[in-house]
Each structure stands twice: as C-alpha cells, then as structure tokens.
Symmetry: C2
Amino acid sequence: MSGYKYTIGVDFGGTYVKLALLRFAEGSYRIEGYSLFLTQNYNRDELIEQLVIRIIKLKAESIYKGHKIKGVGIGVPGRVDFRQGIVCDLTNVSGWRNVNLRVQLETKIKVPVFIDNDANLMALAESRFGVAKGVDNCVCVTLGTGIGGGLILNGKIYRGTNFAAGEIGHITLNENGPVCACGSKGCAECYVGNHYILEQAIQKMRKGAQTSLKTMIDKRYSNLTLEMISKAARQKDAFSMILWHEVGRHIGVLIAGIVNILNPEVVVLGGGVAKAGKLILDPIRMTVKQRAFKVSRTNLIIVVSKFKEKAGIIGAATLALESNRKL
Amino acid sequence: MSGYKYTIGVDFGGTYVKLALLRFAEGSYRIEGYSLFLTQNYNRDELIEQLVIRIIKLKAESIYKGHKIKGVGIGVPGRVDFRQGIVCDLTNVSGWRNVNLRVQLETKIKVPVFIDNDANLMALAESRFGVAKGVDNCVCVTLGTGIGGGLILNGKIYRGTNFAAGEIGHITLNENGPVCACGSKGCAECYVGNHYILEQAIQKMRKGAQTSLKTMIDKRYSNLTLEMISKAARQKDAFSMILWHEVGRHIGVLIAGIVNILNPEVVVLGGGVAKAGKLILDPIRMTVKQRAFKVSRTNLIIVVSKFKEKAGIIGAATLALESNRKL
C-alpha cells in the first residue's frame, strides 16, 4: 500500500476544459496527468463525450501504474445541484440547463462523480492546500466580469438551501445605485466587475482625463485592458492609481460587510481583477480596517489566491477525495 | 424512564434575567418552572450569585420531581467565547468584560453550563420549535436599537472564527451614508435602528409634516414611540405608513443581500421593530422580491418570530439540550 489516494479533477470553464489526475498524500497533492481542450469547440453532447474519453484515458493511465481512482470531481461556472449532480445553469456556456451530468458520466466511466460550482471548489482548494490551508472559515471572492464567491464554513463548503449561496457580487453597496444585470440596484458587481472598471476608465478619458494610458491604446479606447491599467499604475500614472484605489475601496466595503456577517479567518481574492495585486490589496485592507468590527478584522488575513488557473482542477480533485458515494 | 430530558434556560437580558426549567420530548418542549429578576438591581458578582441561587432552586425542584438536569444554557446580549464559556463583552450591561461565567457557575451548581449570544439562541429556538422548525439554513434578524443576527447554517449555530458572526446590522446599505456608531458608514443600523426611526419621524414633523401622530404626543415629541407610529399607520395615517414603508424597504435591501450570500430557507424577524408586523413585512417581502436572486427568493419565507420574549429561555435551554460536555 502506497498510502496515496488518486482522483481526477475537471475544471469546466467558459474558455477551457482542463482535466488532471491528482495524487494526494496527507496534506499535499501532485498533478500526475493533464489534458485540456477548448470549450467552444464542442456542443453539449460532444463535450460530455470528450469528458468521457479523456477521463477514461486518465483512469487507464493510473490503473496501468497500479492506482485506483477514488472519484472524479468537476467544477462548473454556474449553479449545481450538488446532491443530485445536476448542472442547473451555466454562465457563458449555452445548452446546459438542468443537465444530469453525473448520471451521464457515471454510466460510462464507472467511477463516482461529484459536481460543484467553481467558486466553491476554488475555496476548497485554497482551504486545503493554499493560502487558507487549515482554516475553518474562509471566504473566496472571484473578481472577474462577474463577482462570485465560495464559502468554507466550519471546514466545509457552504452551499445554501438551493445550492445558490455565495452570490457575493450581488450585495448592495448603494441602495439607489446603477441598475445591475441581476435586476437589483447598486450591487457590488456594478462597481468592480471587469466591464465596469474599463467603462469607467474610458468615460473619464473621453471627458479629458490626463493619463499615460492614452499612449498605449487606440483612439476609440477599444483595446484597453485591466493589465494596461495595472501597468500604468505601477509606473505611477495617477489616473490609473486612483482608478484601482476606487475599485479597491468598493471591494473593501463589500468585504467588510461579509466579514461582519461571517467572521472568517481568511478572505481569498481570485479572478482577473485580483491580478492587480497590491494596487487593490492596499485599499481593500485599509477600507476593511475602517469599516469592519475590530474583533473580526484584527487577525483577518486578506490575500490573493495561490492557485489561480489551477484552483479549479485542484478543488475538483479535492472534492472527489473528500466525498463518498458508491456507484 | 419517562423519555423526557430536562434543562434550564437563562435569558440574561439588559432589563430582565429570566430563568426557566424546560422539559423536552421529541420535537417539543414545556416550561415547568420560571423565575425572573431585574438586571439592574445587582452588580456583576451579585448577579452571578442570584443565578447560582435560582439555578440551584430550579435544579432542586426538578430533582424532587425525579428529574435530572442535563445542563444549563445561558443567552447574553453580547459576544461570547462559546468554547470556553467566557462572556467577552455585553451591550448595555457594564462590568462584563472577559468574565469566565461558566467556571464561576459550574463550580457551584455542578451541572454543565453552555453560554452563547442571545441572537444565536433566538435562531436556535426558532429553528427547533418555532417558525423555522426543521429548517437547515435560517437567518434571524433582531430589529431593535441595534440590529443583530443569528445564523443557523447546515442545522447548526454558525458562530464564526472569533464568535463574532451575525453582525447583520453592519452591512453597508450606502457607502457614503451616515456615520455609524461602529465607525463605518451607511450601515443598515443607521437606517432601521429604533432611535433612527424615531429621529426620522421627529425631524419630519418638525419640518411641518402633517400626521395624526401630533395629536398623540407632547410638543417636544419626546414621548413618541414605535407603537404610536404603528397604531397611526394602522389607522391609515399616510405619514406613518410611508415611514414604515421606508424602514421596510431598507430592511428588504439588507435581507436581499444576506439571501444572496447565504441562500437560507427562512428569514425570521424579531425585536421591537418586528412588532410593526405587516406594516414592514409587506415592503420587506416586496423589496427582497425585487432585489434577491430568483432561485434564492422563490421559496424563501420571511416571517416574524414565534417566541418573542420567550425565545431567549427556549433557545438557551435548547442549547443545553443539544450540547455535550462532562464536568
């Protein structure tokens, strides 16, 4: 007996589907096999077929090496009925409404399958092997086009009654703020979502704001990216620095509220916006210090995620490691 | 063997300390003995002595009847280190900073003692025997001078890392709103706390607003109460109706955010403001419908607490029933 356990983790993203074979020992993991394909290359049924083929291949490889796969974990960008293994709906991938992915896979791959929301699995990965390792209560905030969240409470993923918990981006920051895509007003996502940040920058430039960004982009500002704003801010472009400061302040208000409700030990920031690093971490930490209860913020750690692109497969594989169900 | 279990519940409030002997059967409870005293009549040491005397008396009564007490549960208005039984600090009762109440009581009463925050115990009472009976995920919001919260997540009280979770009143409703006593800005408590509601009403009356309230109160508006505003609103006083509507809308924004994060089955409203009943329930429900995610709000129940004044002792006794620790 090696003492190792093996699972397969699948990160089903809007752009790529990544698969990996993971080997777990006490408190550590190793990626032993890897494969990926473009999500958009396949329709739903073809994509499921691809998953089956690739999972069976990874499974065969591991059996050849003498290891049995305990299970397959899958993270998807949307709501999942974790108990039944049903994908309820996906953001940015069409054709996935109420699909019983678990049944479709298990009948073919003959290994238990566990499916969950990707933000939940990012939180799981970070709380087991990453920046929140060993922590009981941890909140992961994914800062991208949408703002999502994964909650680890009392050491376990908290999913809520309808598996819809963690919609952190739709906490109100201003009751009468701009209308949000969700139908509410003044949601955090309206202030710190990717599109909003870029739009804000463009509007201000159109109004004549002075910034070194103007030398990097075309006249219609159509090729502006968050990376450019980060780069300019690091080169002390005041406009870009203030922009990130404002974004960080909004995120800080959001996190202060979450900290007051959930009193976590660690808040992990992931997603594209988190790549701004110190540019947003500083104002976030300052704002949380100003606004959250002292007892909840004193030992609070706010930090950027460790795994980034790999969080999905590690979290998914960990879910399979920790879940138990017989076929 | 009767099959019954007995515990003592203590509700240590800012005004009264209430004690009761409770008998539990499967899914039900009965209050079998009761006693109360005024909190302000005693200093800290005298109050602990009163607790000891009265607990021993209730214990003796039950032993006389042939029942053994499983434990004593105590709810206090402040933060408690539940694991160690230490009262960290209390709102509105002085002299209670880092008091190891458990040790002080257990050495004298010889029964295991369990101490928790009162909002947590209200949530426990409602989730076991009240309006959220049998529910896994439930949020209790206490609407008084302060706005507090108790969370039942996955069937258990969620306390957070420093036993400071549930500070629902200090979620921001407006980033640049009025300065809150907690040091932050635009907290929910600034819009729906008792004092704020009365102040709002008085300010508007001073500015000449027409309302039947003016016939009920003195010229300096000093005897205005929430009950008066409720009464006037029920008699169709437009001013009072609008006032409750506004309060309900703010609470609705707050609850919509909590619902988006925690996706509970039931939200229970308690405290003085909740006595306005339908006057605030209607705008709260309407606002949550407008602002929370459809999947999370569709089967959500928002309801006024069942137990009101008794929630404290029932919750405390239930805590002792469900907790296990040997002396």
